[in-house]
Symmetry: C2
Subunit: 473 residues, 2 copies
């Protein structure tokens, strides 16, 4: 038997044990997902930016097509076209605070991926788990296409396609397709497909459920098959465009990014695209005939087509924006899909927040006012009434607010200020506020990044697996 | 102080101790040879072909621009655009024979480069040293542009530009520019520039000395300066042609090499070039408007321009061939320079041998008959009389033969048969005789090679040095 099959067997067996209470057999999801050919065909990238110590260790694993940054250990795992962005790993001596408890780091933090199968998944590392701040663990976990593991250590978890787990320590749980969860902790839980659930237990809960039929047009996932729908078609249509980028030895400096900006060589800029100062375009981001104003960022797997972003915009991992004009500081959450009309772009006013996993696909012109929160599904002005609220109105809520399929409970002001703080943190961390000397962030630090190209065994019993790799500063 | 300077200091200090009897200070040769910029600019390639176990370890070293294949350890060294070809490393259990003594290998052989500075050097590994067959050592050694370390472990050696040490265990010695030595062992010896010295102590000695003035036109080396001359100009003129090759992630399969042949992606084929079956084109070989018949090989740093090689030709590391027609099984030795007239190419008959470090630069048409040995410098038919002999005539020699500046002593038949055996070994090892199933060699085994791209620190105190690297099967 090919050795890679044994790795897959072991992952399936271990995860099924974790999920025995939920009674899910992940075997059917991944058994036939990848051929050896595919795994042997793609190299992996290891990015070093040398501002921190770095190091990758990889044993008995395949990391084909993956892009890895920061200190990372990968054992007995299959990562396929998975991005591991470890640029916010904490260093020895730093202190992680959890309410009034302090957890100082005894060593540099590392991402540890073990016995896991991650398929086109995005991992970003900023973990809030105080129990073991030196390790960001992803253990016995399986995730499907375009899932996001965001600051969320996990053990024994199944993530279906286009799902996101955000700042949540997750154990023995499943997260359905296109579901988003941010809940601090999650154990022995099954999150349904299309559910958007965000809670800070003591302070607020935001809960929305996508209509299954509508969502199915955009993303539908069946065990053992590739996900389908408009979002998948969009991603597929761009595949070819990425080939030349991945045929070349990339250099962040090779492009002509303006001061403070960074265009990752493994992103694609197509047509006439403007990149402003301090802009960060991450790997696998796709930009076409678009304008990114000062301090905007286009994160991994996002796609911005025929759109204008005024500046200081956050387009989170996997966000898609087509035919839209976004004013300053508009935030577009994970895996959202925004599509205006070619002749009348979707307009979103300054400071507005598009919740993660929101679908806006216009049948008529719509303008979202400034300082608004929108969520769910919007295709016309009527939808907007049941899928949006001004942030000032929301701030006044204390108790329960139900609008359409959305139910909010708790303190509205706490929710909005937490969200705004987070957006400021993201802009700051990405270097949007760099003044030439101070406030450097990912955009500036990544300008001198360079890339290791790591290869799998091209054939033989180890085909698709990678040799043992240990590279460290 | 930049850390890389400390590495250079240590190498110089250690080598000067080895060379104290010879009284050479290598400091002046290398102190200002490389800027940090240069070292930080180039990535290194690690080639895996997975027919054998493989592994690279690299510590406190720079390997910028280098191409490395096979099991190799590099510590405290600077390798700049140096090719380490370890495709003939012996494996555990193999037995190395030295006359009637047998030396079985207790472990897989590795190349160990330690405390050395190798500048555009070619290392090929087939070592005949029976004392430590598990290690091919290159210790406390400095070598200059386009030197060849061929199957020659060394300790405390200085090799000047375009010199070759071939199957010789070399200690505390210096080898002058464009000198070639093959003597089994060499200790506390200074080999003058332009000397061609080949001995099998008991059986024969071939000794030739280039005319200094003529040689100076082709290669001249001064301490602390780049070498100059026609050979250097030729190499410089091709630099640009290599840039696109090194900008891409290479794949041996990407080209359209015929069955059994291998065109390394880090070689350049320019104009109309024909590649026959079982041809091996190694990395950094340059071919322009030329024909390579079945089983021919073009080794590292060789250059074949407007020439026709009928088949089963060996063009050894660094050989240059311009405007020439070579019949079958013509052998062109290391760093030779052959240039015919554009309208009347140099013709070399079947089975002839061009000695290493031979310069043939025609002022009038010349044809070298079949089964001839030529050496030294040839520009016209008169030169040929004093720089060539038929192999059958040479085979009859027993004692001393002086022709022009060449002195041969010993058994001519032993010399010619040793040479012919070696050529057969080279053709066989390179896969020239592959029949689709049997006799596979480097050309066939390298077809599925893939390449790791390894990066130096781009800036900071470690600029130009590489992180610690350990990649192993």
């Amino acid at each position: 038997m090919k050795e890679i099959n044994e790795v897959v067997e072991r992952i399936v067996g271990r995860l099924n044990i974790h999920l025995r209470k939920i009674n899910l057999n992940v075997d059917v999801y991944i058994r036939d997902l990848l051929s050896h050919d595919q795994l042997a065909q793609y190299y992996a990238l290891y990015c070093i930016s040398v501002h921190d110590s770095f190091g990758i260790e990889c044993n008995r694993s395949s990391i084909s097509g993956s892009y890895i940054q920061g200190r990372c250990v990968i054992d007995d795992s299959i990562l396929y076209k998975t991005d591991v962005r470890g640029d916010e790993l904490k260093n020895r001596g730093e202190v992680l605070h959890y309410k009034d408890l302090a957890s100082p780091l005894f060593g540099d933090e590392r991402i540890v991926i073990r016995n896991s199968f991650l398929h086109r998944t995005l991992i970003h590392n900023y973990s809030h788990v105080p129990e073991h701040p030196e390790r960001f663990y992803i253990l016995n976990t399986v995730s499907m296409d375009h899932a996001n593991i965001h600051g969320s250590p996990m053990e024994g978890v199944f993530l279906d396609a286009f799902s996101t787990v955000d700042h949540t320590c997750c154990k023995a749980s499943t997260v359905g397709a296109y579901a988003y969860v941010q809940s601090g902790e999650l154990t022995d839980t099954r999150i349904e497909p299309g559910r958007i659930f965000l809670t800070d237990t003591d302070r607020f809960t935001f809960d929305y459920m996508h209509d299954a039929e509508i969502l199915g047009r955009y993303v539908r996932a069946k065990p053992g098959a590739k996900p389908q729908g408009i979002l998948v078609d969009l991603m597929e249509s761009l595949k070819e465009r990425f080939e030349p980028a991945f045929d070349a030895v990339g250099s962040c400096l090779a492009g002509s990014a303006p001061p403070g900006a960074c265009v990752n060589p493994y992103s694609v800029l197509h047509g006439e695209t403007h990149i402003g100062k301090n802009v960060l375009v991450a790997q696998r981001a796709y930009l076409e005939d678009s304008w990114l104003g000062k301090g905007a960022n286009a994160q991994e797997n996002c796609c911005i087509i025929h759109s204008h972003l005024d500046g200081f915009n956050v387009t989170a991992h996997g966000g898609k924006i087509l035919y839209a004009h976004l004013d300053e500081k508009v935030f577009v959450g994970f895996n959202s899909f925004l599509r205006g009309l070619p002749d009348q772009p979707l307009r979103i006013g300054e400071g507005s927040i598009v919740m993660p996993h929101t679908i806006i696909d216009l049948q008529e012109p719509v303008a979202i006012p400034e300082d608004h929160l929108v969520w769910g599904y919007i295709s016309n002005s009527r939808d907007l009434e049941t899928h949006g609220i001004s942030l000032s109105q929301l701030s006044d809520v204390e108790g329960t607010l139900e609008i359409g399929r959305m139910r909010f409970t708790g303190n509205g002001a706490a929710f909005t200020s937490a969200f705004r703080e987070r957006i400021e943190h993201i802009l700051d961390a990405n270097g949007a506020y760099f003044d030439g000397v101070r406030n450097a962030g990912h955009a500036q630090k990544s300008r001198l990044a360079c890339f290791y190209i790591l290869q799998p065994y091209p054939y033989g019993p180890k085909e698709g697996l990678f040799p043992s790799i240990d590279i460290r500063s």
